[in-house]
Symmetry: none
Subunit: 196 residues, 4 copies
């Protein structure tokens, strides 16, 4: 029965559009075509639903990025395509991303409690993709020496900040994408690449 999926899908859309607090469970039920009690029946409470939906979006971003990364030649390429993948995702699934920005799952929930730890884990796996690229780049000489952890954090900050500027302030996505790329390249590109 597709009811569970219908509920999660509906919740994702509504949470993204109006935010968690402004989305009554009854609206989710209506949008999913099920009875009011059914949502709670399956998910025990509304917060669980937020967690699941949030996790799904994180996972989806992770998967999409993973796919784009595969054929990266150098470490620098990997890092740059990580950035590109982010904007590609934003371009195609703005709605889904809105969810991450608008909701405070990270804040209100105890991140150390199960199952929220899963959420953090997913996020770490996602960042890991970037860090691996950076590490590879440092090794293969395409990226200048730096601390991959810190750099990955700031790149991620830039991306999520750009998403906010686009989704909330209406800034042009393509400008943000191009300029972000320029920032990353300027910071990473090794001016003195390793000799062959």
């Amino acid at each position: 029965m597709g009811k569970i999926k219908a509920i999660v899908d509906a919740a994702q859309i509504l949470f993204a559009e109006k935010g968690y607090e402004n989305t009554p469970v009854s609206d989710i039920a209506k949008a999913a075509g099920v009875a009011g009690g059914t949502v709670i029946y399956h998910f025990k409470n509304k917060e669980n639903l937020l967690f699941i939906v949030t996790w799904r979006v994180h996972y989806s971003l992770f998967k999409a990025t993973l796919k784009s990364l595969t054929p990266a030649r150098s470490g620098l390429d990997a890092a740059l395509s990580f950035v590109a993948a982010f904007f590609e995702y934003l371009r195609k699934r703005a709605g889904e991303f809105q969810l991450i920005l608008k909701n405070t799952a990270y804040d209100t929930l105890d991140v150390n409690a199960f199952p929220n730890a899963d959420l953090k884990l997913m996020h770490l796996r996602y960042l890991r993709l970037l860090q691996e690229g950076l590490e590879r780049g440092i090794e293969d000489g395409s990226v200048r020496a730096c601390d991959p952890m810190s750099v990955s954090h700031v790149i991620y900050a830039m991306l999520i900040g750009a998403a906010r500027l686009h989704l909330s302030h209406g800034e042009d996505l393509e400008n943000l994408a191009a300029e972000s790329m320029a920032f990353v390249r300027a910071r990473l590109e090794n001016p003195a690449p390793a000799l062959a």
Copy 2:
């Protein structure tokens, strides 16, 4: 009478800590030491209070940044001290900043409607500080050729994203500050400065 100020202060703290929707007006009243009706009496409704509080924080960030910028020698210096000012503010007034991140004044309110337009205006004045630095830097040769608008947007994205990483994910602020500085410097610094 300090009652209005007490309400705004209380609202700022509570909105920042728990978010707008999770802060009952009655809690604000209690924290401000006034009766329940007093909050609405002065601000007509809860949303107004959010607007005022948000504006105040934006203004405060603007003012703090303006102060730090004054003695900048070159345009590059100005831009870098803009970034430094941001982290300085975050360091000292993390709570206040939380408000901007956690609340969706920009999303739920019609930004073009008065008085929300004021909010946008304040934000633009703030960004203008950075843009002026960039323009000056391009002119005085300390900053390489670029589009000040786009660059300022991405820098702002990076800053606000870093704030999120720090405040919500608990990332170390000093690492983020240092690395952000490195990004900005890498992107801006003119490799071929104008001759003397």
Copy 3:
């Protein structure tokens, strides 16, 4: 489940006794033996309840009158028994009638909007009963020539005014009934009936 009926019954009594604005929804719930939220759950809002209750009383008066009218011999008889039925109703269901007098459904609601149009319709059907009697009376010679529409309006005005005098001012109902009858008879009775 009799809960809906219990709510409507309770609302009818309370609206009639204390008026719409002076009857908290919570009182209705209490009187109906249900939880506070149940009233709104079923009727969406308080005003709906007023409409439904008002309609029910109008309908009940219509039905009661219709029943009394059936065996009328002449048109004059029909008109007179219309009047008698009104006072009979007032005698037996004073409380219910109070509702019509004390509440301003007609004033505050847009009578032309659905479903308030239903209310007007019900009222017109009720008045129609009187008009038909008058028309029949003019035809069969028991009623003198007159405009049935205007006459029905004034008779209705007299009746509702009498109800007000009785219910609000405490005037004796039987005096009002007898004298009203005398007025109607004096105005309608044909002094020169048709020849046999």
Copy 4:
């Protein structure tokens, strides 16, 4: 200082337009051009204001009717001009009259308590005008034998009912006036006037 008058005037208009319960004291103050506290300061509470305003309208109707009655030749003339005066008042001061219909001063207040007894008194003096006409008419032979008290009550019922039909249901005032007159004349006119 005209402040008290301004308040009473404003209250009259607002009570008539929106009803007592739906008129905040603050609106009255605003309309009267005084501060919020001033209304209560002068009238102690809102209910007093309703009483005063209601009394004023009753008095005004009484005065207007008294004026129209003066030159009545016969008792029947007096009664008929009483009715005419009512419609004349309704024609010219519909707003003021609305107040009597829409508000429940008579119901919610204890009519026997001072000062509400004054209201009843005013009403009785008004009705007395009609009763005197009827008594005179019976004496001078222009009105057929009847109980002046009962007849006056039903005439008053008819008038106030007609006002309701006009003000709330939108029925045409002139039709109501003409037909009401016909009813009164039919009931009162002596078919066999006293011989000279």
